[in-house]
Symmetry: C2
């Protein structure tokens, strides 16, 4: 298992090595849990969509890309302002090259995807500034737990991921409610991370919810109910249900850190089956601190796929090197899983080639 | 592979043997596709529920039993008039003993189950006497096809089944529209099969839909749209999507024959991966002819689990021997799959023991 070219480990190298050897050449399953929070429509919060309203279409459009290779709920593909493409373009390539099966979990969206999906009884989240953000949190957690258990009976490992625009703001709120990060270390899909705006929204949300820093340390579902988003309870349930049986890669950045915090608080016994998988782009982000965020949850493995768009012929992709997008839709986790499940047959070089050909087809270049 | 005690083959023994040897000791997945049709609320049509209205709760209650071991959407468990328990009691035992993972597919129900499920965009079906019975048939078929494909990537075989009260009447209508059976050979969950009532409903439905015998031979989705139920397109898509990759057991009676007819018309190439799995009770039913129905679709394997309740201490179970219930919720198919996937470790004797202990727990006997 020589991974040095493709995967770099940034935390708990021994645990990472042990977990990755259990996934080497084995049968994985990719999942993407989608959700909407009206928080994403506050102007300036989310760049995951060309306009604030389009951020509500982004999760469903992302999974349509994964399932059909094109979007159906909107024209074109989800882009950040400036035409920078969704990270689902990486996930598509990882799934295609590895042949990994994929399932969508609908945590609660405003715009339904034109795909099959697991329903867990969730609905679109409210603006967290009201302090009452998500309905049916426990039902969604419990049902997703059953899905995670079922999928783990048939696979050797599971990848959990998310698409939920506005989700770094809700993640920050939940992480503060749980007392896990005091400073704002969270990332953004824009290099001009609107920290002050996010901080003020989170402050307002916590106040409306009557939560002080750390008040919800042992009650993640209540933290999510008040100031989170509907991707979170479904994804936390999925992670716990699966990680009781098999290794789980949490593919993502800040948002998956919030999911991980919730999962570990719900069932600390799953800790040894957990690895966070992200991208080199997020690790290199000067405006956030993924390594510190993961370490705030304890001694947990963190690995990053070494994809590099520096030499890409396409502006939209090279923008990732300048801090745009960086993570989402499990792009890092799915790429790591593709390398592992294929015993290294799938490499960053092969992924890049496939991403370019998919991108040119989709954008009709 | 000595199956003589547990499974009897009633059609295409060589094909049956070949398919069963591909499932022997292998990893299967059980699915149950649920649907409602308002046809079940016509008094006298369906005994799958204590009253006509309760038939709308039966599919969701059945899958709640499978997932949770108890019902949540209603009190007690689904029973036929007289207190005869749902065949989900058999399926529960087969799943528990084999450890097979299970997924619910919601083809379109009136009462949602308190379980996770795959959504395919379907909704409750209308009374077929209107001749316009099911919405979004193609969407549901296509989405379920994707689910079947995904599940078949991770499993060596798949079991498809159904719970849809009133479904033998809609099945008869679709089989006539497709020109497959002229006589009424279909079964019923009652030994007093209300043939004349079913025939007159089907006649009225076909007339309202403007369909003559066999008019829809090559267009099963249109037949379903006009006179079928929403379990059918989802289940047919699931079967085709899975059977393109792996063996599929269609677990059930008349209703699964209609699903099979639709699946084969949509993609004849899947024929060699198909086996029908049912119960000795249905095979022995003097009021229907399962063997002839399957043979009407060509040279296809048909196998039956040899469960026998003659010596059961419980009246409700012994009633199966007198022609009550007989099939449904994949009870025959799941039991056959449990025997095969466990390499014969799970036997009819062990199934009976488990069914009795589950039944006593559920009924608080």
């Amino acid at each position: 298992m020589d991974l040095s070219q493709d995967i770099e480990v940034h935390s708990s190298p021994q645990k990472a090595e042990a977990l990755m050897s259990r996934m080497w050449g084995r049968r994985g399953v990719f999942t993407c849990t989608i959700g909407n929070t009206l928080t994403s429509t506050i102007p300036g919060v989310s760049d995951a969509g060309d306009t604030p309203e389009l951020t509500l279409y982004t999760p469903s459009a992302d999974v349509e890309l994964l399932v059909h290779g094109r979007t159906l709920c909107m024209d074109g593909i989800p882009i950040n302002p400036g035409g920078i493409p969704t990270p689902a373009t990486v996930t598509m390539a990882a799934l295609a090259l590895s042949g990994m099966p994929m399932h969508i979990v609908n945590g609660g969206v405003k715009v339904l995807p034109h795909t099959p999906y697991f329903d867990v009884g969730g609905s679109c989240g409210r603006d967290i500034r009201g302090g009452d953000a998500v309905s049916d949190v426990e039902v969604c957690y419990e049902r997703a737990l059953i899905i995670g258990d079922s999928l783990a009976r048939s696979h050797d490992f599971l990848v959990a991921s998310e698409s939920c625009a506005g989700g770094t703001t809700t993640a920050l709120a939940v992480l503060r409610a749980m007392g896990l990060i005091e400073e704002n270390l969270v990332s953004s899909s824009s290099p001009n991370n609107p920290r002050e705006l996010k901080d003020s929204i989170v402050d307002e949300a916590l106040e409306a919810a009557g939560i002080g820093f750390g008040d919800m340390r042992d009650d993640p579902l209540e933290a999510i109910r008040r100031v989170g988003d509907p991707m979170m309870p479904a994804n936390a349930g999925l992670v716990v249900g699966a990680a009781r049986r098999v290794p789980v890669i949490l593919g993502g950045g800040t948002q998956m850190v919030a999911v991980l915090a919730a999962a570990l608080a719900m069932d600390p016994s799953v800790r040894d089956n957990i690895m966070v998988g992200t991208t080199r782009w997020l690790i290199n982000d000067p405006n956030s601190d993924m390594v510190r965020m993961v370490r705030s949850l304890g001694d947990l493995p963190l690995a990053a796929i070494q994809l590099d768009y520096s030499d890409s012929p396409h502006d939209g992709l090279r923008a990732y090197e300048r801090g745009y997008v960086k993570e989402g839709v499990g792009c890092g986790g799915s790429a790591i899983a593709a390398v592992l499940s294929s015993s290294g047959e799938v490499s960053c070089a092969r992924l890049l080639e496939r991403i370019h050909s998919d991108y040119e087809r989709i954008m009709e270049l």
